[in-house]
């Protein structure tokens, strides 16, 4: 666990909350502005303790594929998010796991309620742990990696076409 000065800690927590809210509200242009050019977005199958690509993951996006994901969401004809899910997530247990130079590894837990309005109208519950790698840049904090380990990732999951 890294000990940080209070303003830095507040900046990091504010970033994690902002990232969550932009994702909740499907504000993908603004969300994408938060990521670095080497962003890696990963939703592993089971614990994220393997090298991505050596076995299949739900999501294993480099920056280019993440761009495709966001462009697809922006087409207006991505049925899986047409209309977009109504979502709210609660982020808690934020811990600064490490701080090295300009980079911070941040762990948090989340619970996300999704109203899947596209077909079933079901209220879907997603829960897990997010690990952010944040980097301080001249534009402020940016996200270089986000790993999302879902508590139930080894069971079949419903559609996950939004940013979790």
């Amino acid at each position: 666990m890294a000990t940080l000065d209070e303003p830095t800690r507040r900046d990091i927590e504010a970033f994690v909350y902002l990232e969550a809210r932009l994702a909740d509200e499907s504000r993908y242009d603004e969300w994408e502005a938060l990521v670095t050019d080497d962003m890696h977005y990963w939703v592993p199958f089971g614990p994220g303790d393997y090298e991505p690509g050596t076995r299949v993951s739900y999501i294993n996006d480099n920056r280019a594929r993440l761009g495709t994901r966001i462009r697809q969401l922006a087409t207006g004809v991505h049925h899986a998010q047409d209309p977009p899910s109504s979502m709210r997530r609660v982020v808690s247990n934020i811990e600064i796991l490490s701080a090295e130079g300009d980079e911070f590894e941040v762990g948090s837990n989340f619970v996300l309620y999704e109203h899947a309005v596209q077909a079933t109208g079901h209220l879907r519950l997603w829960a897990g742990r997010a690990t952010h790698r944040l980097r301080r840049t001249s534009d402020g904090l940016r996200m270089a990696a986000k790993k999302v380990e879902l508590v139930n990732s080894t069971s079949p999951l419903p559609n996950l076409p939004f940013i979790i």
């Binding site: 050596t54 462009r71 087409t75 004809v77 596209q118 559609n159």
Partner: protein, 435 residues
């Protein structure tokens, strides 16, 4: 409006519910139909279970379903593969609640009954209290288990005839073409399975997975986000412009055949020879230059082996019925052997883009299936609630145990449903309605 319920055909009159150019929507939603399917298709017929490469070592097992029946596919001590019920023969406790593992034997957590890997009962605590011969108390086993090129199938009833009859020429060719993508002729399913939960009937997946008509619209977002995908070249081109064809084979196996549309070698892999040189050389070394060239141009099939095996190009998918309104669509990348791992890394990345609940394609199919299922909830047999499957009926051609037509025609849907009708109505073997 069909309000004359007493004169309507019965909900299990499959000859009426599946017609030449339409089927009734209650086939998706009626619980009585689902119960019939679990018997006639998933108990009386052959069902895909898994691939032998998933259980390479003695004691390796994976958890599967034959219809809704929980089973384990296990590598035995003698190297053969068993399929046994994942249910203690004593009081029915699930033996292995996980997805996969390796055990020396299977021991029930409830009273400690212990089974060998092939399901034979090895021992019970307190044996003096039993007067039965414990040799009769092994795990339930399907009546038939067989494989073709490592693809393991099981039939619970034991009365389905040989697997080769179930596969027929069409299914055999499809599995051959899939297996031949590997330079050794043996594929490897070792990258893990991901399951997609869909709130729709299972039959929407043999249909959707092999529907050439929906690609332009259902997947329009992908075409716009990545305009240069090979799907764009081969199927987004519109009626009459594509050289691809739909095919239906005897036995309900169906294919979207993209082979004629590929304009470059390795188009199906989205790459060129230079990027996967080791793989191409391995294919040529194994098969010779001519056959290797065919494999590199044609790529893997995109096809259903009836009822639940989707050969999804360089993925394998299992369609698992859970209830009338719930299906799990499982997939794993199809990995190849006898070459360096770089091509397999590429295949894992390609799989993550195409398949699963966070992919660029299956997410849209899932929502369409869920909308379709909801539209037929409560559908009763009558004049309303029919599904039209007439597209291309007048222009499709047939010969040698198969039908084919334009890629956008519903030849695949009809092929699936007409075989389904034969199985459900008990007329398989009656060849009058074979192609």
């Amino acid at each position: 409006m069909a309000l004359t319920v007493q004169s309507s055909p019965a909900s299990n009159d499959y000859q009426h519910l599946v017609q030449e150019d339409r089927i009734h929507g209650s086939l998706y939603t009626d619980p009585a139909v689902f119960a019939d399917e679990m018997q006639r298709i998933y108990t009386d017929g052959w069902v895909f279970v898994g691939h032998e490469s998933e259980v390479p070592e003695v004691g390796d097992w994976v958890s599967r379903r034959l219809g809704t029946e929980p089973v384990l596919m296990v590598r035995n001590r003698d190297g053969a593969i068993s399929v046994v019920a994942n249910r203690c023969a004593h009081r029915g406790t699930t033996l292995c609640p996980q997805n996969d593992g390796n055990h020396r034997n299977f021991r029930c957590a409830y009273h400690g009954w212990t089974y060998d890997l092939d399901g034979t009962l090895l021992g019970v605590p307190g044996p003096k209290g039993f007067h039965k011969d414990t040799a009769d108390l092994g795990l339930d086993r399907p009546g038939q288990v067989d494989d073709y090129r490592g693809f393991v199938f099981a039939n619970r009833s034991g009365a389905a005839g040989p697997l080769s009859d179930h596969l027929g020429a069409g299914g055999t060719d499809l599995i051959d073409r899939t297996s031949n993508m590997s330079p050794t002729g043996s594929v490897r399913l070792s990258a893990g399975w991901i399951g997609q939960h869909i709130d729709s009937n299972w039959k929407m997946w043999p249909e959707s997975d092999n529907d050439g008509y929906h690609l332009n619209l259902t997947h329009a977002s992908m075409a716009r986000a990545v305009p240069d995908t090979y799907y764009d070249e081969i199927v987004m081109t519109g009626e009459d412009a594509s050289a691809s064809v739909t095919r239906a084979y005897d036995g309900g196996h169906v294919e979207l055949d993209f082979r004629r549309s590929y304009t470059t070698e390795l188009a199906w892999l989205g790459t060129t020879r230079e990027k996967v040189a080791d793989y191409c050389e391995a294919l040529e070394g194994s098969y010779g230059p001519e056959k290797a060239k065919t494999i590199m141009w044609d790529g893997p099939p995109h096809a259903l082996v009836f009822p639940n095996l989707f050969l999804a190009e360089m993925n394998i998918a299992r369609i698992e019925p859970v209830s009338p309104g719930v299906t799990v669509h499982h997939h794993t990348p199809l990995l190849v052997e006898g070459t360096d791992e770089s091509v397999n890394r590429r295949l894992v990345l390609q799989s993550e883009a195409a398949m699963g609940p966070a992919s660029f394609f299956l997410t849209d199919d899932a929502v369409i299936a869920e909308r379709m299922h909801r539209a037929f909830e409560g559908a009763a047999v009558g004049d309303d609630g029919w599904v039209d499957l007439s597209r291309g009926l007048e222009r499709e051609q047939s010969a040698d145990g198969q039908r084919w037509s334009d890629i956008t025609d519903e030849t695949t849907n009809r092929g699936f449903w007409h075989h389904y009708r034969d199985v459900m109505a008990g007329v398989v073997g009656d060849r009058h309605n074979r192609v």
